[in-house]
Amino acid sequence: MPLGRTSSVALIGLTGSMVEIEADISNNLPSFVLIGLPDTALNEARDRVRAAATNSGCGLPNRKLTVNLSPAALPKHGSGFDLAIALAVLAAAGNVNGESVAGVVHLGELGLDGRLRPINGILPAVLAASRFGARTVMVPTGNADEASLVPGIRVVGVASLLDAAIWHGGRYSPVVVEPITRPAVGGTAEPFEESDLGDVIGNADAVEAMQVAAAGGHHVFLLGPPGSGKTMLASRLPGLLPDLESHAALEVSSIRSLAGQPVGSSLVTRPPLEAPHHTATAAAIIGGGSSHIRPGAAARAAHGVLFLDEAPEFPTSVLDALRQPLESGVITIHRANAVAHFPGQFQLVLAANPCPCGQYGARDSECVCPPNQRRRYLARISGPLLDRIDIQLRVTRITATELRMAPESVRLSTAAARKRVIQARAASRDRLKDSPFLLNGQVSGSWLRGPRLRLGPSTTSAIDRALERGGLTMRGYDRVLRLAWSISDLAGTSQPSAEQLGQALYLRKAISL
């Protein structure tokens, strides 16, 4: 029976589905029909596959070839099916062992010379194949390192279609080719990596606040005049976060793979930092695309930090698009033909000037903005978004005195601060182990006010009074409690003291003018 079959993986977002590829050879004039909802790039596979097969010396039969990608209703895109299509046809022609081809998942794009090109999204694709029970996966040599990061699946890296055919028992004489690899990792990948917390002079409460943010996973809003060190502080936050756990590392690496960034031969272990420019569109931040849904900056920042500098300059619609991922931790993108999910547990850091001229509230210069304009400027960050941000902090420019005193003052290095954060996270994890939450920043108010963790009235008197006076809403009250627990974890105390609650109130309310 002139029928060959094999399987490959179609990705929608990070979710992979198995695709069965069937090839049929019928006695008719030569033509190549590809069915099963391919997009343009995939439809071009017909020409790539025929040319690649001819040029690598394992030509396809001169008959009508029908290749079906099933499930037929699932939209498929990209060039990653080339290898699977070519091998299914060769299996149908009887040139390679059909059973061997059917038992392996194939991923890879063919060049016209028959060599295999690395593709994007190998890691999530192999992960999906492994989840669906595949035991062997064949990938381009250039992707073999990345594919090997998935445990429990045998990875076969091949340089060309001919190599693949020979592996599957084809009687061809091998030809050694130069495998196509990805360009080496660019040096600009981690621009903020070297920055150390010890470089920050002054703003001691902001430095402490960044550690609290790192310990509890709280979102941060930094407000201050130009030159006060907002960007400097924000770029140091990823350095304070502990190394990624295996599950998170896999997700971060998968997103990198999907976005076409180099992954290398080991999983990404440091939390990512994404700092999109304020001209970014909602699709650039959240992710989008009509047929092929790509991850945006927020998804690439998952398990790391999303830093929006000059936050009021972002279109309101873009900022508000972040509310849903902030709430649910998942980025969901709906399109006519598919729904894609990306991880969305990022830590948001917003930075803003207090007014368009930037000088409002600065000690050393005067603001020239009319009050109305000032109010409107910060109102661009909507209330509901701001409400989800636990730490709202003012930063100031350092004075000449502070600079002169700097060499004598004791400053915390990133390494030391990260150690504190790791200890604090261990303490909070111990406390939260019976709850559905992982970090203080996620804990619900009712749980904090519950019988187990309720604080004495003498401790909470300050925020109780703020609540009575209307200076704090109920939601704000819960946020202050969360922060207080993070501060307490960082200090190594068993529960927050009245002073730590006061500190939490300051971190939450310092912006209110």
Partner: protein
């Protein structure tokens, strides 16, 4: 006569002989009308078969079958209609076949026959 025409004639002759050996009665060869030419017309059982013969001396410039395009097939279909009109007693059931002849110089020619290509 150009060498390619000579090759074509030889291919058609080989194809006709091949069909005859397979029990077909040859009705016409190189039947012409205003719209073009049909290479071979044979009777295979009850079916009238219109055969396009494509000959090449090598496959350096592709297999002969690859040269039979959709446009060429469409013309063949029109020509089949014209033939049936001219021969109303025949042609109740028709079929269009293709035969490729690869005839390298000084070697045995190879024939391939595809049935019902349209």
């Amino acid at each position: 006569m150009a060498a390619k025409d000579d090759l074509g004639r030889r291919g058609e002759a080989l194809a006709t002989e091949f069909l005859r050996q397979h029990g077909c009665a040859v009705l016409a060869q190189n039947w012409r009308c205003a719209q073009g030419e049909i290479d071979v017309i044979v009777l295979d059982g009850a079916e009238t078969v219109f055969v396009e013969v494509k000959t090449r001396s090598s496959v350096t410039f592709g297999h002969p079958f690859e040269a039979i395009t959709a446009a060429k097939l469409a013309r063949l279909r029109r020509l089949a209609g014209a033939w049936c009109e001219a021969n109303p007693s025949l042609g109740r059931q028709i079929r269009i076949d293709a035969i490729s002849v690869i005839a390298p110089l000084g070697a045995t020619p190879q024939l391939e026959h595809l049935r019902r290509v349209f």
